[in-house]
């Protein structure tokens, strides 16, 4: 049995946990342990092969909703999602955070420069965002970095009168290999693994990876519960990972302050596994996934599609009214072959011309239905992710699909393709040769598993709120039920944060990290 003690224990080393570890080690002299479920893989390990690199993902990239229909992707390695994402960096949306302040009573989360939130000098969202942007080099890519796939997307949008924008990205001197999703083999993407976690390790934070946290240890005194550490198991270190800081085997850590940053699936399942009191059945409820629908197009000539910056352009033209984005993305052969429609000759007619394919995706900002819920299933030893796409979300997806097909055709595609097996009117497959046929998208039923949707932005499963009947944590991220237990990751967003969530999560983590550093006495530290 490994037994450790620390002042502060952080579960998860991704967008939130990495930033918290660095911030708390920067601003305090407290001893900190950082736990990560996955391995610690460095750039030498990233071989750019899709099936090899599924070790970087939760459930080896096979975690899905209960009906198997929607892959729920999440990073499970040091750096978490930031190690495997496409570096798409959206600032937190002020209107969304203002809405949360208004509707859920949370705050302050000020976006006013110079504001002193919680009475702490200089603590506000703007300064925290600035810190994060600087540390991970958020910038706009240059013209020369835009590949053919992105240019075609822009051309299609322009022909339709739809404005596009350039993503901001957290990279430095990208070489354009095109494998952000398999971990950056060149350390040019500035994930938390190569930035904040590295900073934390330099400041003597103890990192334990390959660590399955079984439960948060909670002590009950009278009617009050308080966190006092965690227990878990350290698995043997997998091939290719850095060495671990402790031996494989059972692990017990005593710490007066426990921060859970295990992501919007990992966090609620850990709370439930720990028998965290849940008098109002709020843990895990109201899951948001940002379902995304790929749209492909076949062009006459080979284009640069999988090389270069995968996502350089997007359009938020439909966000305000319809709540979705078009974002440029492109899949490597395994992911593409699984998603493209049909089988046999029909399927091969697309795959055999892989070099002529273009792609982008719809990202839907979905509503947090109470029936969409993560629950820990003790018998299976895995989370159950119940998720159905609501009728109103399907309606918006139909609009997004139709307009997406039109954009692809307007870009000059001889054929636009939906990743769907549905029979639409007289079309033999979801392949569209003219704009008239695009209207058939209105017939899409989105039955589970028939039209391919994916998800990489799980959120909102341990919501922040000042009313304990409808939330799990307060504005400080503190559990309503268990003292000295803080949740800080995308789980605490009361609804979707409205954009690709990385910077929203990192900014929140910087904010809470600074706050905790100035409020140590609140936690008896």
């Amino acid at each position: 049995m490994n037994t450790l003690t620390a002042d502060i224990l952080i579960v998860g080393s991704g967008a939130a946990g990495g930033v918290l570890a660095a911030t708390l080690s920067e601003l305090t002299s407290k001893s900190i342990v950082l736990l990560e479920k996955g391995g610690h893989y460095r750039h030498e390990f990233f071989d750019q092969r899709e099936l090899d690199m599924n070790v970087l993902y939760a459930g080896r990239q096979a975690r899905t909703t209960l009906d198997g229909a929607i892959p729920v992707q999440g990073g499970e390695c040091v750096g978490g999602g930031t190690t495997v994402n496409f570096a798409l960096s959206f600032d937190p949306k002020r209107d969304v955070w203002a809405g949360w302040r208004r509707d859920f009573g949370i705050g302050p989360f000020s976006f006013e420069r110079g504001a002193n939130d919680f009475g702490i000098t200089g603590l506000n969202m703007v300064s925290c965002l600035a810190d994060v942007r600087k540390r991970i080099n958020v910038h706009t890519p240059a013209d020369a970095e835009i590949n053919d796939n992105n240019r075609l997307f822009a051309a299609g949008c322009k022909a339709m009168g739809i404005p596009t924008k350039r993503f901001e990205l957290n990279m430095i001197d990208c070489i354009g290999c095109g494998y952000c999703g398999q971990g950056c083999a060149y350390d040019r993407k500035l994930s938390t693994m190569v930035t904040y976690v590295a900073d934390a390790l330099r400041r003597q934070v103890k990192l334990v990876h390959h660590c399955d946290v079984q439960a948060i240890e909670v002590v009950q005194r009278g009617s009050e519960h308080a966190a006092m550490g965690v227990r878990g198991v350290v698995r043997p270190t997998a091939r290719g990972s850095e060495k671990n800081s402790v031996e494989a085997g059972p692990l017990s850590i005593r710490a007066p302050l426990v921060i859970v940053s295990a992501g919007a699936i990992g966090t609620p399942e850990l709370l439930q596994r720990s028998n965290h009191p849940d008098p109002h059945q709020t843990i895990g409820r109201g899951l948001v996934l940002h379902p995304s629908l790929p749209i492909a197009g076949m062009f006459d000539k080979p284009i640069v599609n999988y090389r270069g910056i995968t996502g350089a352009l997007y359009s938020d033209h439909f966000y305000a009214i319809n709540g979705f984005y078009y974002e440029c993305l492109f899949d490597h052969p395994v992911a593409a072959s699984v998603a493209l429609p049909g089988i046999g000759i029909e399927h091969f007619s697309l795959m055999s011309q892989y070099s002529k394919l273009a792609g982008f995706g719809v990202m839907l900002v979905d509503a947090p239905l109470g029936t969409n819920r993560v629950t820990w299933d003790e018998s299976r030893g895995a989370p159950l992710i119940r998720y159905r796409v609501s009728e109103s979300d399907k309606e918006r997806l139909r609009t997004a699909a139709q307009t997406g097909i039109e954009i692809m055709l307007a870009a000059g595609a001889k054929e636009a393709v939906l990743t769907s097996e549905e029979q639409l009117g007289t079309l033999p497959a979801a392949r569209f040769k003219n704009r008239r046929d695009a209207a058939l998208c209105q017939r899409l039923q989105f039955l589970p598993g028939q039209t391919f949707l994916s998800s990489a932005h799980a959120q909102s499963t341990a919501k922040m709120g000042e009313d304990a009947r409808h939330s799990v944590v307060n504005s400080r991220g503190e559990s309503h039920q268990v003292r000295n237990l803080i949740v800080c990751d995308s789980s605490v967003f009361p609804t979707s944060c409205g954009v690709n969530p990385m910077l929203s999560i990192m900014t929140l983590a910087r904010y809470q990290g600074k706050r905790i550093a100035y409020e140590l006495a609140r936690y008896g530290l």
């Binding site: 459930g59 198997g68 395994v334 089988i343 000759i345 028939q450």
Partner: protein, 216 residues
């Protein structure tokens, strides 16, 4: 429990396990010591025949550009990557897929699992027995398929290629979520095993990893 019941029960369990087929995490065959499971292990070779036929239907192996790819090669890779032959649930799923009469009269366990994993959809007609209504839709589609089938066969792996592809698409477009799930999973396995091969990358014009700019 007769074989049909076991097949259906296993299929339900397989769906519940979520990661089946798509993950190497299911390598350990649960319940391998139970009598029912060992009888299925004996049927693993039958499963191979069905998987071969699925690979042949899903990939256009008749295309000369794929001359180097055989169903046996796809199956070997699928086994290495996903451990298909070691998982009795998958073997039983393959058997269920193979027997065409089970499409017409599915075992009750399959319908029970359907209700559990694919509850009534908001947009679906509110029939008192929505699972039966879904199966009725599938029966209509099957009747059309059967009418055109030449020559008639009782098992999927005996169907001619065109009919085999149509049968796969019956599953892809089934009103039953369990059937769509099976199609989606087997397609994932076949495609992942195939399109992760360097030999196939050459055919489709994908140059693969770009690692040579990395300092040694």
């Amino acid at each position: 429990m007769d074989r049909r019941d076991f097949v259906a029960g296993s299929m339900a369990a397989a769906a519940a396990s979520l990661q089946w087929l798509r993950s190497t995490a299911t390598l350990a065959a649960p319940g391998a010591s139970s009598p029912a499971a060992s009888s299925l292990t004996a049927n693993a070779s039958a499963g191979q025949v069905v998987f071969d036929a699925i690979a042949r239907a899903m990939l256009p192996l008749e295309d000369p550009r794929l001359a180097a790819i055989s169903p046996a090669l796809v199956q070997r890779r699928a086994q290495t990557l996903f451990g298909l032959d070691r998982d009795p649930m998958i073997q039983s799923g393959l058997a269920l897929f193979d027997e065409l009469h089970l499409f017409q009269s599915p075992p009750p366990e399959l319908l029970t699992a359907e209700a559990a994993y694919f509850p009534l959809d908001e947009g679906e007609h509110r029939a008192p027995n929505f699972v039966a209504a879904r199966q009725a839709k599938d029966l209509k589609a099957f009747a059309l398929f059967y009418q055109k089938m030449t020559p008639k066969a009782a098992l999927f792996h005996e169907l001619h290629l065109g009919d085999a592809r149509t049968y796969c698409m019956l599953w892809a477009r089934s009103a039953l979520g369990m059937r769509r799930r099976f199609y989606q999973s087997t397609k994932s396995v076949v495609m992942a095993a195939t399109y992760s091969m360097d030999e196939v990358w050459t055919v489709i014009g994908y140059a693969g990893p770009l690692l040579h700019f990395r300092s040694p």
